[in-house]
């Protein structure tokens, strides 16, 4: 029964993601996760502050159900279907340890250095989580989509705007990891 804990290789995961997208298309919807953040702002009354949030969020309830499902899926997978370790390239793990003092590469699913509850009272860790999350939320809406909406849905539909957005995702990610990480973690 050990096979059930094994991670899925890319050639299993990729086609299943495509299947997720086609399931939603056949249900008359579009695969895109970041629009839920806008919906949640609207639910919380953000329409009073900006017109951007004045829309009928109830029409987006289906996508909130996808979110609830994703939470349940994460619970099921982590508790019953995983060893919760990620075997990354040992060279990358070694580099993380040497350069940035992140020693958990290959031994954890997320680095406890950044994601352990006990580290939340460290202002440095808290700042990383807040800045990271803020840019994800701001950037996804500015770009009109995230990894699911642009890199999967948009590119599948051969949309040039999505290609520009995905190039942007990679420029941003490469700047962060290669130029900014040495400054903040080094």
């Amino acid at each position: 029964m050990n096979w059930i804990y094994e991670p899925w290789p890319w050639y299993v995961a990729g086609p299943l993601i495509a299947l997720t997208m086609f399931s939603l298309l056949f249900l008359g919807k579009q695969f895109g996760m970041s629009s839920n953040l806008r919906t949640m702002c609207s639910m919380g009354g953000a329409g009073k502050a900006a017109d951007f949030f004045k829309f009928d969020w109830k029409k987006e309830r289906w996508n909130l159900m996808v979110v609830v499902g994703a939470v349940i899926g994460g619970f099921l997978a982590s508790n019953y279907m995983s060893n919760n370790t990620v075997a990354i390239n040992p060279k990358v793990a070694q580099q993380l340890s040497q350069d940035y003092g992140i020693d958990s590469g290959g031994k954890a699913y997320l680095p406890p250095e950044l994601f352990a509850k006990e580290n939340l009272d460290d202002p440095f860790v808290l700042a990383i989580l807040i800045f990271g999350g803020f840019m994800v939320g701001f950037g996804a809406r500015y770009a009109g989509g995230c990894t699911s909406g642009h890199a999967i849905s948009g590119l599948s539909n051969l949309q040039l705007p999505s290609l520009i957005a995905v190039i942007g995702f990679f420029i941003g990610g490469l700047i962060m990891v290669h130029l900014i990480y040495p400054l903040i973690f080094g």
Binding site: L25, C41, G69, G74, A77, V92, F131, A165, F170, M176
Partner: protein, 137 residues
């Protein structure tokens, strides 16, 4: 009843994200370090099948269930918003190591610190809504 279907799609998606390790901070870091083919293989294979499938749907005029139109609208043309917005998103993606799908998956997996990331993402979305008229689109 229809909501149960979406809930099921979400559960399926959540399990894929977690089991494929696409929800792992380490995999995102490794991708931007070009340390493994894993993430490129996931996105690339999803994309190849996605492109083929969407082309088939379009050429054969296949409809969604209930004879609805497929949601395959072309995106608004622009460069600035996609490039600048995309770069900001990428900076955040590589720092928090999570994008807007996996965030919820990680919350379900019991990584409670991710709730800070989700709250900050909501704040980022809210601030975008406040200032969007002043930004180049």
């Amino acid at each position: 009843m229809k909501y149960i279907t979406y809930l099921a799609v979400g559960i399926f998606f959540g399990i894929i994200m977690y089991k494929s390790e696409a929800a792992s901070w380490f995999r995102i870091y490794e991708m931007f370090e070009f340390g493994s083919f894993h993430m490129y293989g996931i996105i690339g294979s999803a994309l190849v099948l996605g492109i083929i499938g969407v082309q088939v749907i379009k050429r054969k005029g296949i409809k969604a269930f209930g004879n609805q139109e497929m949601q395959l609208k072309p995106k608004e043309k622009s460069i600035a918003r996609y490039l600048i917005g995309g770069i900001i998103f990428g900076l955040g993606w590589a720092l928090a190591g999570a994008c807007p799908g996996p965030m919820y998956v990680l919350a379900g997996a019991g990584f409670y610190s991710i709730l800070v990331v989700i709250a900050a993402a909501l704040l980022g979305t809210f601030v975008y809504g406040l200032v969007r008229n002043k930004l180049p689109h």
